[in-house]
Each structure stands twice: as C-alpha cells, then as structure tokens.
C-alpha cells in the first residue's frame, strides 16, 4: 500500500540521504526522491505530486520551514529530521513530528505510521 506513494527526502548530506532512501525502500515505499538542496526540492515539488516529505531542518545552513509550509499547503504530510536538540519551530509548524538524528528504521517507520 506504500508502493504507490511518492516520498521526497530533503537532506543535504548525500550519505544520510542514501541511507534514508534505503530505509524507505525496505519499508516498501516505491517512489523516493532525494533533494540535497531546497532549490532542488522546490523544483521537484513543481513537477510531481508528493505524498510524504522527510525534511532536514538545516539544509546547507538554511531552515527548511518555508518549504515545509509550502508542502503542507499542498496537503503533503511532513516529518522533520534534525540534529538540533531542541529546535524551536515557528508556531505554524509546532505540531510537525520530528525525528532526532541519528534515527533508525524502526523510529522512521513509527513516525511514518502516525501520519494520517
């Protein structure tokens, strides 16, 4: 049932991105796209329909909050991934589920399962 879902992974470290793609693949997701910059992610957003997005909070020193708002506006379910201990999200994004780096496949799966 995950097979037809499109997942966008926004992660500026390719090595982490690859690992995330592998995890998602093993969890049965069929279409996974890696964007290592916010610009790439925006491009992809314009071209394809996305169901779920996994967003690194800090992408090359820039916060991904703008992209997060844009995605939510389009009805995309989002999950943040962050290395910051206590990230202060803007009010509108306070309730976005967060995975703290480093996280494993079980934690990723648990976060994905909670999405509606």
């Amino acid at each position: 049932m995950n097979n037809d879902k499109v997942v966008l992974v926004v992660e500026d470290e390719p090595i982490i991105g690859f690992a995330l793609m592998d995890m998602l693949q093993e969890l049965g997701y069929g279409k996974i796209e890696l964007a290592t910059t916010l610009a790439k992610a925006n491009d992809f957003l314009e071209q394809s329909k996305i169901d779920i997005a996994l967003l690194d909070v800090n992408v090359h020193g820039e916060r991904s909050y703008g992209l997060a708002n844009e995605l939510r506006g389009r009805g995309v379910s989002i999950i943040f991934a962050t290395g910051y201990g206590d990230a202060e999200y803007p009010d509108a994004l306070k309730l976005v589920p967060t995975l703290k780096k480093p996280f494993n496949q079980e934690e990723l799966n648990a976060a994905l399962s909670k999405l509606s």
Binding site: I15, F18, A19, L20, T36, G83, Y84, P102, F103
Partner: protein, 495 residues
Amino acid sequence: MSEVHGRHLDFIAAHTGFMAEIIRYQDWSKSPLGPPSRWPEALKSAVSLMLGSEFPMFLAWDHDLGFLYNDSYSAILGAKHPKALGRPFKEIWQEIWPDILPLIEQALAGKATWLEDLPLTMNRHGYDEETWFTFSYSPLRDEDGRVCGLFCACTETTDKVRAIRNNQAERQRLENLFAQAPGFMAMLSGPEHTFELANASYRRLIGDRDVIGRSVREVLPELEGQGFFKLLDKVYQTGEPFVGHQQSVRIRRHSKGQIEQTYLDFIYQPVIDSAGTVTGIFAEGYDVTDQKLAQEQQTLLINELNHRVKNTLAIVQGLAQQTFKLDVASPVARKVFDARLKALASAHDLLTRQNWKAAQICEILLNGVEATAGDAAKRVTYDGPDVTLPPQTAVSFAMAVHELSTNAVKYGSLSNETGGVSVSWNINSESDQMRLNFEWQESGGPVVTPPGKTGFGTRMIQHGLAAELHGTINLEFAPTGVRYTIDAPLPGGQP
C-alpha cells in the same frame, strides 16, 4: 623670699592652679620682668585676668616681651613649659618668630590683630610640627596709656584644620571614584527624577547628552514605553530598590546615531533622608551588552556543534548501513567501513584547519589518495588552480575521492605496479557562470570491466557528488582506464 613679696602678691593669691603657684614662687631676679611685687598695676590686672580664664592666654611685657601665661596655654607650649615663664617671647618662640613678628609689631604699634587658622611650624616636643592657630594680639598699655606689651587669647585649631582637610580629601576621593568608576552612576532627585550627578560612564552610555537639572523623561525620551520610567516612579513611591539583570534597553548611545539594543545590569537604589522620606534615586550599573552577546554566541555555537555532531553521527550511521550489507563478508565490510570512517575524519580535519569554512580541492585530493593508496599515491599527478569548496561539498568530495582511489587500488590503474592516475581541474569562466571542470583519468592499469552491481562507492561518486554540486557527472569504465568527469557550477561561486 615669699614672705617678702607676699604682701604685694594679692592679685595672684586670688587664683588657684599651677601657673598661679609658680608665678608666686618663681625666682624673678633673673627675669627681664623683675619681681611681681614691682610690676605696674596695668600688668598685674592683665595677669589676674589671664589667670582667671580657662581660655588659653599669654601676655608679653616690656622691652624683652617677658612671657606670662595661664594653665590652659601651658598645653600649647608642650616641652617649653614651665621654663618659658618669664623668658623673652622671642627666645621661647624663635622657630615661628619670622611668622609672628609683623603681628607683634602691629600690636605694639597699638593695633589689635585677628588671625584664623594661621599655619605655624612649631618645635615644642623636640621635632617640627605643623600646627594651626586662631588668635588675637591686642596691645597692653600702662597707666599712662603707653603700649608696653601685648595680650593674646589663642586657641590651637590643628585638629579642626586636619579634620576639614581630611574631609575635603575624602570628598575629593569619593568624587574621583564616582567620576572614574567603570560602572555608570547617576543621582536622580525628586519625583520627576531630575539628574543631579552623572559620571563619565553614564554620559558615555547616553551619547554625552546634557543631563544636569533635567528630568529622565526629558533627557531619555527613547526609553518611553520600555518600563523604566514606571520603575523609577515605583522605586520613588515605595522606597524599595530595584535590581535588573541583563535588562534589555534600547537607547541612543551616540548623539546622532540609531537607537541601539543594549543590555544592562543595574540597581535603582532609593535615597532616603533622616526623616525616612525618599528624596531621590541612585542609579548605578554596568553595560553587559558584550557579555550578553558573547553568551548568545556561545549558545548558538553549542547548538551548532550539537547539530554538527548529530549530523556526523547520522553520516556514520548511513555509512554503516550502506557498508554492512548481507552480501558482503563481515571482515571485508569492516575494513571498508574503517577506511570510509577515516576518510570522513580526514575531511573534517581539513575543514577544522580552515575554521570549518572551506577546504582546498588539492588538499582533499592529496589527503584522500595518500590515505587510500599508500606508496601508489606517487603515481597520481595533479594539475589545477586553487579552488576552495564549502564544508558540505568538501565532505562529499572527500568521500568521492576516497571511493575513486579505493576503486583504483582494488581494480584500477593503481592495482598493478605501472598504472597511474592523472587528476586535473580548472575553472571555466567563458559563460556568465563560472564552472568547475574536473577529470580523474586512469591509465596503464589492467583492462577495465564495468562492475556488475552498483555499490555505495559508485552511488557516492555518481549521485552523491552530482547532487551536491548540481552538475553533470560522468563515470566511464573504458577498457583502457576509468574516467570520471565533473562539470558543475563553481561551488560557493568563487575560486
């Protein structure tokens, strides 16, 4: 003897005390004054007046100005007492004679003098001593009205003058302390909080505005709405001090400058008079803006460090996940993992050397190839200008170089004794966007066959770096040697 002048000494007999006693029994034959029984009536009256007083007094009579004094004056004489009795004035007080002679002459000329706190250096205990006296010399006349001597009532004011001087010195010291205090201080008086005093630090804080005699609301209009006026009113009304820590204050620190964000540690201390009424407020404190900003900077750095550490751990986790696959024997995978971890650590070293700002392409290459290829690294040549890469690109580039050289050592041109690698790069500025062209060309190795499946190495080289650089990457497994090229916009925009 005493019997002899007894009858003529009634003017002394009326008095008790030490001086009356010695005047009575002194051998006057050697004194210029002669025996008291023969003293003129005017002198006798003056002596009687003097002996009857508790105020220090002396008189000096006749040509030699023979000296007579009372008990109170004997303390002023110090060790000169009691020898001074009957001796000439000049002989007793020779050390101050030049100072007092004009005054004596004036009195003897018939004109009284009055001096307040006159400084005199006396020697009355065997050493020079700074003293001050308030005194009056008045002429003493005989029955015919001729001036025959002088009369002096005096008091030593040394202690008073010293006390005033100490007070002045203390006040000066406090004023200096106030003026030069590193912290800012201001004294406000009345319910309008009018400036009475403000030290240099305070004036610096507010851009050298005129403050004295003006109210805080007049002097510092930009504080309106920041709560300080209300605070001052409250301190004035309740008499309770207020202590502020790292209080945010937006203030114009330079006369024509912008309003600036500052942080202050300060106290508003009510000044209370003896009746218990608040009369003003003493404001003092320190500008802790730098400290506050340093703290914020530190918090930011710690957060950033935390983020970096967590991210690096996630990278390590990613490396592990992609290295330890079920189809790779575990001792082999461990070796590969160790090497990748080393390459990652080495990339971090390069970045740390540049304060985590950038790393040189050339350094990344030399570092990565040498760590992987050992002696065979000598067969790698480099040719290209200085190009720096931003941190994350540098890490990805370092990992790609590691994978390229590992592949070359295992299967490519560094796996035999004769092959080599020629690495070259340049910056192409022909179009309006500067582009980086990079080439890794292997030659002289065994005949190349493309790998059967795509591992982490190939993935890193092809997709990882491509994504990072937003460029075109080409990996060719030509039979004569692996060729890897990058054509990408210059990372960071500058060489």
